[in-house]
Amino acid sequence: MLVNHFETILTPEEMQYARQRLNREPNPLEWSMIDAEWNEHCSYKSSRPVLTQLPTSSPRVLIGPGYDSGVVDVGDGYVLTLHIESHNHPSAIDPYGGAATGIGGVIRDILCMGTRPIALMDGLRFGDITKSEHSKWIMKNVVRGIADYGNCIGVPTVAGEVEFDQCFERNCLVDVACLGLGRKSDLLLAQATHPGDSIYLIGGSTGRDGIHGATFASKRLAADAEGERSAVQIPDPFTKKLIIEATLEANRAKIIRGCKDLGGGGLATGLSEIADKGNTGVEVYLEKIPIREVDMNSIEVLISESQERMLCIVRAGSDALLEGIMRKYEVTAARIGKVISTGVVTVLQFGNTIASLPTSFLANAPIINRKSRNPKVTKDELHIKPPTDMVKALLELIASPSIASKEWIFRQYDHEVGINTIAKPGEADAAVLKLPNGKFAAIKLDGNSSFCNLDPYLGSASVLAECCRNIVAVGAEPIAMLDHCQFGDPNDEEIFWSFSMAVKGMADFARAIALPCVGGKVSFYNQDEENGKAIKSSPIAVVLGLIENTEHITRIRFNEDGETIIMVGKTMAELGGSEYYHTHDLTGTIPPALDFELERRTQSAVLECIRRGFVTACHDCSKGGIGVALVEMALSGDKGASVDLAKMPSDEMSDDELLFSESNSRFILTTRKPNVVLEILSKEMVPGEAIGIVGGDSLEIVMRRNKLDCKLDILRDAYTNTLERVLYH
């Protein structure tokens, strides 16, 4: 069916540019294809100039940003692939389906490289569940969506991070990252390099779900967003599981030249991107595309974002082999086109050309150089009187949803399928997975919207620093990272400024520690159309680490009575953006400082202590400060401790600052060789002090003016049962 009506969010300037480049008026189908490719979600037209600041290379990086996933060499012929996706807008409307299809999307990005997805992580941001029934509903269904999808496809969800803040009430953030494993010799690239190769569409049929999904993600959420439900795709993890196995089997048979995930923008985007990357063109036969509904028009077929579909570029002459493998797994495979030498994307319907656009024109949206302006963020001053009952203050903090145990979530995720998960959720600062070459991968995802809201540059550098500390704490060396930037409407100059500063913060710190960025994602328009409110700036970092030796794997739990507890790093009076302030409805004025060089030295000294076998437990000290870190180490090992913070390296400050300050560049570790550890730290000019001893069934902390003494059972109840209590009351 041909159409003469189309919807677009292209600007008048972009439409003018298109007419000039083509020297004609595109037809409605062509306009729709341009629209699908040139939206912010697919084209990065606003963010690209800013993202170039990130360092992207190292001897281990085989493929950096620009493909479906980044690829890192881990030796012995093996590679790890890494990618992150967000499904914020869909999850705000349909939390179950939105979250589930977010996983579906990131899995395909890993699969496209010819690698098997081996682990998932989720980063979730919701409104205040202690006050909002809506946010409870969103959270329960997002978690169920991730669980149902991830569990079914047999990929363990091994780590994550959750933050609660009122700013996410109508714009929840749902991020999923995936780690893949494969052989270097089996790597695939999503590029159509050889004219004559067949193009197959495999997996689900094309329906009306997910129409304009990417376009929908490239504008603000409207007040009547319920009406956008057709823009949310429908999840089918069972089909996805079959696609994973079928694709990997076809890849092993060496008949696939490349693969492309069909996500945002559907076929229109996927086809133009494989052709552009391969410097070729493609010819597509519309009537060969399996459709779910009979009366779909050509525009709907080409821009639908129906899930569980992939494009396979099949070596000429291998069609029958591919079809045989797909038949075994009962996966639909339709030969919908072929690669051609002319650089155009041509759509034919029963032999008639209905759209024809130059590949490089279609795949490369004109860049927008946006204006930016330093915003005035509302900041409040400190109004808290230091508490006298420190036990009460600590119990309140560990029972705040952002700090409390996330067990309610990770119990619902199969985190062990695949039998590689060595450090499981809650046990260590990062997940640790066994690799087939005898090494281990460590992965973690982190964000901190409170810090980034106060200072996007410092905040996002701190996010990356914290994520690296988490990797180091398990005994791994950081080897690659992903960035993921989530902001409001980029047309707002202040928001674009925050975005630019956040990327700069991450880029500068990444450079300081020589950590390459291998990919990422940008999600703008996380802003409520009705009240105009944008989310707090929420850049996310994912860091991948490598552990060479099983002896180095370190968890957070207190192990043995009598071991010495060492505080690494200096504590300063830095409560700005802290969780302690958040529980008192305060933001503070500035986030903790970050000395890039000190942070680098601290991480390297701690890693040396771990690698030399002196560390029995290690925990990054960040959200909730020393107080929370000690509680987590005690509860994890079911062992108490007595700690004296009075002599610790720190400036003059009140006891709540001492206990809850979120200063950067700090770890808490335990050891049987305190003198050696302190020596290594001092050699690297890193502050360190023995602060206590493991043992007993309570946590005793002496501060400057107060002391606290609390039984582990009481701490456990507050820390462990909070989420469940809040969600069901």
Binding site: A147, D148, Q412, Y413, I419
Partner: protein, 220 residues
């Protein structure tokens, strides 16, 4: 001993089980696609965990009617060891090779955690290398693992010694009488919700699962 691990569309613990049988126990074992499982000369067969046929209709219901089950039934009748793990247990019940039903967990959620299990009998093909009343540790990961049967059947299973394992301490799913694994009359067919393949390597948390698989070698 030659062990077949059957792959249904949607199985996802098939590779894990194979890895443990082949690498840790050095058994001759192979993944067999369900449509190709037409040879009952195997010495033992394992139905692995996962979501066979996407749990469509009911967990295990469609796989229970696949052609592969004909051979599984024959091997069961011949007294050969047959083990259903998690979704495999659900399939054995749907196929009528084991009695009762597996309902949704009482908490109405998927539960993934390590559990303590009491060996109720060592008279089964998958516990004969373990002592009755001993405790082992293995993880569970499922949505529908609450064993259900009427009082008569429960009493019957108990008196006949067909309750193979029960949860010791916490009952994570609300399963009746804490049941985690049962067997057929002969003790050669066992269905269990916990995952022995996930407890077969000390770095992953324990090796008790090896004794479960290893029991096959002792059984005759």
């Amino acid at each position: 001993m030659r062990v077949a691990v059957i792959q249904f569309p949607g199985s996802n613990c098939d590779h894990d089980a194979l890895q443990v049988l082949t690498n840790n126990l050095k058994l001759e074992s192979k993944l067999i696609w369900h449509n190709d499982f037409n040879d009952s000369s195997w010495d033992a067969v394992i139905l692995p965990g996962g979501f066979s046929f996407g749990d469509h209709l009911r967990a295990g219901a469609i796989a229970a009617h696949s052609s592969a089950i004909k051979n599984v039934r024959k091997m069961a009748n011949d007294g050969k060891p047959v083990l259903g793990i998690c979704n495999g247990f659900q399939i054995l019940i749907e196929a009528g090779l084991l009695p009762g039903a597996l309902l949704r967990n009482a908490c109405l959620k998927f539960v993934c955690k390590w559990t303590n299990l009491r060996i109720e009998t060592s008279h089964s093909a998958f516990t004969c290398a373990l002592d009755t009343n001993s405790t082992i540790r293995m993880p569970i990961a499922h949505n529908e693992g609450r064993f259900f049967a009427d009082e008569d059947l429960l009493n019957h299973l108990t008196t006949e010694g067909r309750v193979v394992m029960t949860y010791s301490g916490e009952n994570p799913t609300g399963t009746l009488r804490g049941i985690a694994a049962i067997s057929n009359e002969g003790g050669n067919v066992v269905g269990m919700m916990p995952h022995p393949e996930r407890a077969s390597d000390a770095t992953l948390g324990g090796t008790d699962g090896l004794k479960v698989f290893g029991s096959m070698l002792k059984w005759s």
